[in-house]
């Protein structure tokens, strides 16, 4: 059924930027930059400085491993049976040999992570990207991807199974992993948020182009030929 669903529709190619909520989005962006400056960046710097690298990698692996069951479900819904199998075996191997996911032996034996989300499932089902959104706390998204994020959070198989302390540990690990990413890519993120002339426009472009790339869509700007552009003559 999933394969039939995946096969029945193809989302139209994404092109350009649709941003009818720009005013609200810019408000959310200002909030997000303020949040980063006041809390996320300093916390990430402290986390990255105090906690040794191998421990951060372990925490990040642990959080990623908790995401694998959700990825598995999404791969199945997209009809990506091979990736679903890869994700299933990764979860099995890393949860056991990898000691509850702290280590990632699966990658070393040729089973790298195949991350996905419900936004990608919607894309596979033919749902168009929709308008660009910047969501408070969550950051850049689109109408389709934000709907996907909501579904992923509400329907996460791991969260349904884990209770009490386990659930808190999982939540803590996810937040720590996000802080670890913010620390790891701090130069890049800082350059976008604090050095760009218009950090909102930069974040929007980077998100849309990278997301379309992840989804295997050909962004028209990636075939742009400046030598043939009449605007430049």
């Amino acid at each position: 059924m999933a394969a039939a669903l995946a096969g029945c529709a193809t989302a139209p190619p994404a092109a350009g930027i649709s941003d009818p909520y720009e005013a609200q989005n810019r408000g959310a962006h200002a909030f997000n930059v303020g949040l980063d400056k006041a809390i996320v960046r300093p916390t990430a710097t402290a986390y990255g400085t105090v906690v040794p690298g191998p421990v951060r990698t372990g925490v990040s692996n642990f959080a990623s491993n908790l995401g694998e069951p959700g990825d598995f479900v999404n791969h199945v819904l997209q009809g990506q049976i091979e990736k679903a199998g890869q994700t299933f075996f990764r979860f099995a191997i890393n949860s056991t040999l990898g000691i509850a996911g702290l280590f990632d032996p699966a990658t070393s034996i040729g089973l790298p992570a195949a991350r996905t989300d419900f936004g990608q499932t919607l894309h596979a089902w033919g749902v168009p990207e929709g308008a660009y959104l910047e969501v408070p706390v969550i950051g850049p998204s689109t109408e389709r991807d934000f709907a996907g994020t909501v579904v992923d959070v509400l329907m996460n198989p791991t969260s349904m199974v884990l209770k009490g302390d386990e659930a808190s540990t999982a939540r803590g690990a996810r937040i720590a992993a996000r802080l670890g990413d913010r620390y790891r890519y701090s130069d890049l993120v800082d350059s976008i948020l604090y050095e760009s002339a218009d950090s909102y426009a930069q974040a929007r472009l980077l998100y849309l182009q990278n997301r379309r790339f992840q989804l295997g869509q050909q962004d028209e700007s990636n075939a742009y030929d400046p030598y043939e552009d009449p605007d430049l003559r």
Partner: protein, 211 residues
Amino acid sequence: MRTIPMKTPTSGNLGRRQLLLSAAAGLVAATLPAAPAQAITIGTARSLIDRLVSEINGVINSGRSEAAMLRDFESIFSRYADVAIIARSALGVAARSASSAQMSAFTTAFRGYVARKYGRRFREFSGGRIEVTGVGPVKSFYEVTSLAYLPGSSPFEVRWHVSDKSGRDLFFNLIIEGVNMLATERTEIGAMLDRRRGDIDALIADLRQAS
């Protein structure tokens, strides 16, 4: 491209017209830059990026200081990229109203700015390497694909767009995991120009200051 309508010349004015045409052709030839020794092929496009990537790999693993590496990247950028078209594209339609002196100053300031900005990103590849994986035609240019291998993360894709329309094989765009340098810089330079209310000289001064 406009097509020129062809008319069969009548015998009476044939001689003079041919003379005029050949004189015009001579003038055009004299003002054109020297033609490239060889037109771009899939092989020459790939070999340009092979050489470029091997220079980048040398710099990122040289262990030199940041300032030294950024100087190296600026030199690589000047030799392998069509800086003039990248700068013109970043400026967009505003390039039309710029004087040639402004364009020249802008291009120089832009070259330093891009080399510093992208040089910093490439510097983060220290301990890693880039490998060319393939090449194929896109419209009238070639796209060379490569993978960047960084310690502790999964490899990611870097694409290079190569053309000989400047007169020789040079790259004019770079796409990292779908994120396109020309699109990014058009947005950024456009925002910088807006902040200066369209004043290109102020923009040039800002670019020289930009870290």
